[in-house]
C-alpha cells in the first residue's frame, strides 16, 4: 500500500485527461514519414499486445516501403517497434523485399539515444488474411538473463532491446508508406485484441480509445476499445 499504486491510479486518471488535452492541442504530426495513420494511448505502460490483421497485399514497387508498425515510446522519444513491411529497405539495417511474389516480411526497429537501428525477420512470411500476434513488453529476456524490452511477433521472440526506461510514455499502432507519396492506395490493416499493461499490476486492460492522427488520404476507423482499422482507400 505504498505510494506506487496511488501514483499509478493517478496516472490512469491523468492518462484520460492528457489524451483529451493532447487532442485539443492538436497532435503534431504523429510520426511519420510521407504518409501515415497512427493511433495511440498515453500513460505509463510496460506491455502492448494484440493482433495485426493484414488485409491487403499491394504489389511491390521499387523505391518505397509499406509498413505496419506497432511501437512503445519513452519521454525522450526513444522507441521500440515491430511489425511487417514490404518494399524498400533502409540505411538502418533492414533489407529490400522486392520479390515479385513478395508477401509481408517481419521487421523490428528502435531509436535509442537518437540512434536508429532496424532488422528483418521471417521474409515473405505473411500474406493477405494473416493475423499475426505481437507483444512488446518490458520483462526478462530469457536468452540474456536480463530485463529488456522484449518483442515477440507471431508467437516467437524476435529481439531484446536495452533502454533504461522500464515503462513507455505511449503505445501506438498504425500504417505508413515510407519514401514516396506516389503509391498503390490499396493498403489496409486491422488491429484487434489490443491490450496494455502497467508495471504496477498483473493483468492487462483494453487499449482504450486512442488519439489518432492520419494523413488526409488515410482512413481511421475505431471498432471497439480493443480494435481499430486504418487503410488507404480505395480498397479492392
Amino acid at each position: 500500500m505504498g505510494t506506487k499504486p496511488l501514483v499509478w491510479r493517478r496516472l490512469r486518471i491523468l492518462t484520460a485527461v492528457m489524451a483529451g488535452a493532447a487532442l485539443a492541442l492538436t497532435l503534431s504530426g504523429a510520426a511519420l514519414a510521407d504518409e501515415s495513420a497512427a493511433a495511440g494511448v498515453y500513460g505509463g505502460y510496460d506491455l502492448f499486445s494484440g493482433n495485426q490483421g493484414i488485409r491487403t497485399n499491394p504489389s511491390t514497387v521499387t523505391g518505397f516501403a509499406f509498413v505496419h508498425p506497432v511501437q512503445a515510446q519513452t519521454p525522450s522519444l526513444a522507441f521500440v517497434a515491430i511489425g511487417t513491411v514490404k518494399g524498400k529497405g533502409n540505411d538502418g539495417g533492414c533489407d529490400d523485399h522486392y520479390s515479385p511474389t513478395a508477401n509481408w516480411s517481419g521487421y523490428w526497429d528502435r531509436l535509442y539515444q537518437g540512434v536508429y537501428a532496424c532488422d528483418n525477420f521471417s521474409p515473405n512470411a505473411w500474406s493477405t488474411g494473416s493475423n499475426p500476434s505481437f507483444k512488446i513488453e518490458y520483462t526478462l529476456c530469457a536468452p540474456l538473463g536480463f530485463q529488456r524490452w522484449v518483442m515477440t511477433f507471431s508467437g516467437s521472440l524476435r529481439v531484446c532491446i536495452y533502454m533504461p526506461w522500464t515503462s513507455a510514455d505511449s503505445i501506438t499502432a498504425g500504417l505508413e508508406t515510407v519514401q514516396s507519396n506516389t503509391i498503390d492506395r490499396n493498403i489496409d490493416v486491422a488491429y484487434t485484441n489490443l491490450r496494455k499493461g502497467y508495471p504496477c499490476c498483473t493483468g492487462t486492460d483494453p487499449f482504450g480509445t486512442p488519439i489518432h492522427n492520419e494523413s488526409p488520404s488515410y482512413v481511421y476507423h475505431l471498432t471497439s476499445t480493443t480494435a481499430f482499422e486504418v487503410y488507404l482507400a480505395p480498397l479492392d
Partner: protein, 212 residues
C-alpha cells in the same frame, strides 16, 4: 621482544588497513560526486571529440517518434526535484514532469513554452531536456548495455568521474540533429539532450556533476 611484537602488531594492522583503504577508495570512486576531483571536469576543447559519421536519414526510418506537445508528456511536477538544477546554460526549467516508473524530467528553454511545442521544437530553439530514470538492477550494467546497444555510434567520454556515453542522434523530422549524453549516477541514468556540439554538451554534463 616488545619490539618484535610491536612490529608484528604493525604488520597485522597494516594489511587490513590497506584492504579497508582499497574498499573505501573503490566506494568513493563509484559513489562520491566528482566535484572534489579534477578528472573529467574541465571544459572540452572544440574539435577534440571524434564521433561516428554514420546516420540514418529520417525518411529512411520505418517507425518514427510520435510527437506530443511537451506539456502533455508525463505528469506535471509542482515541486522541483533536488537533483534537477533550476538553470542550465542560463536557461530556466519551463516544465518539470515525472512518470510512475520514477523518472523525472526538466525541460529548459530561454523563453516561455507554448502549448503546442514538441520536444524537437524545444531542442531546435536551443532548449535542453534533462531526464533521470531509475536503473533496473535486473537489467545489468547500464554503461555496458548501452554501449552494446549503440555499437560504433557510441563515444565514451568522461563526465566527472562517470563514464558518459555520447551519441549524435539521427535527423529528426525537422532535419535537425541533437546530441545525447548519458551516464549512470547514484542508481539513475542521467540523460542530457540538446542541439549543441559534442564538446559543448559534454562540458554541460560536466557542469552538472562537478563543483565549480
Amino acid at each position: 621482544m616488545p619490539q618484535a611484537g610491536s612490529r608484528r602488531g604493525t604488520t597485522n594492522i597494516g594489511a587490513p588497513l590497506l584492504v579497508v583503504l582499497a574498499v573505501v577508495g573503490v566506494w568513493m570512486w563509484r559513489n562520491v560526486p566528482s566535484g572534489s576531483f579534477a578528472v573529467g571536469c574541465g571544459p572540452v576543447q572544440a574539435g577534440t571529440i571524434q564521433e561516428s559519421a554514420s546516420f540514418t536519414p529520417y525518411d529512411e526510418m520505418y517507425s518514427h517518434p510520435v510527437l506530443l506537445p511537451v506539456v502533455a508528456s508525463g505528469i506535471e511536477a509542482t515541486e522541483a526535484v533536488a537533483r534537477m538544477p533550476d538553470l542550465i546554460d542560463g536557461m530556466s526549467a519551463v516544465r518539470r514532469a515525472f512518470w510512475p516508473d520514477g523518472s523525472d524530467a526538466a525541460y529548459y528553454l530561454g523563453k516561455g513554452l507554448d502549448d503546442s511545442t514538441t520536444l524537437p521544437d524545444l531542442l531546435a530553439s536551443g532548449g535542453i531536456l534533462l531526464i533521470h530514470t531509475p536503473l533496473d538492477p535486473k537489467a545489468g550494467d547500464f554503461t555496458s548495455a548501452t554501449v552494446a546497444e549503440l555499437g560504433e555510434r557510441a563515444t565514451v567520454v568522461e563526465v566527472g568521474l562517470f563514464e558518459g556515453i555520447l551519441t549524435y542522434g539521427d535527423p529528426e523530422a525537422n532535419g535537425r540533429r541533437n546530441h545525447y549524453l548519458t551516464w549512470a549516477e547514484s542508481g539513475y541514468s542521467v540523460n542530457l539532450i540538446a542541439e549543441r556540439s559534442a564538446e559543448s554538451i559534454v562540458t554541460l554534463g560536466r557542469s552538472l556533476v562537478c563543483s565549480p
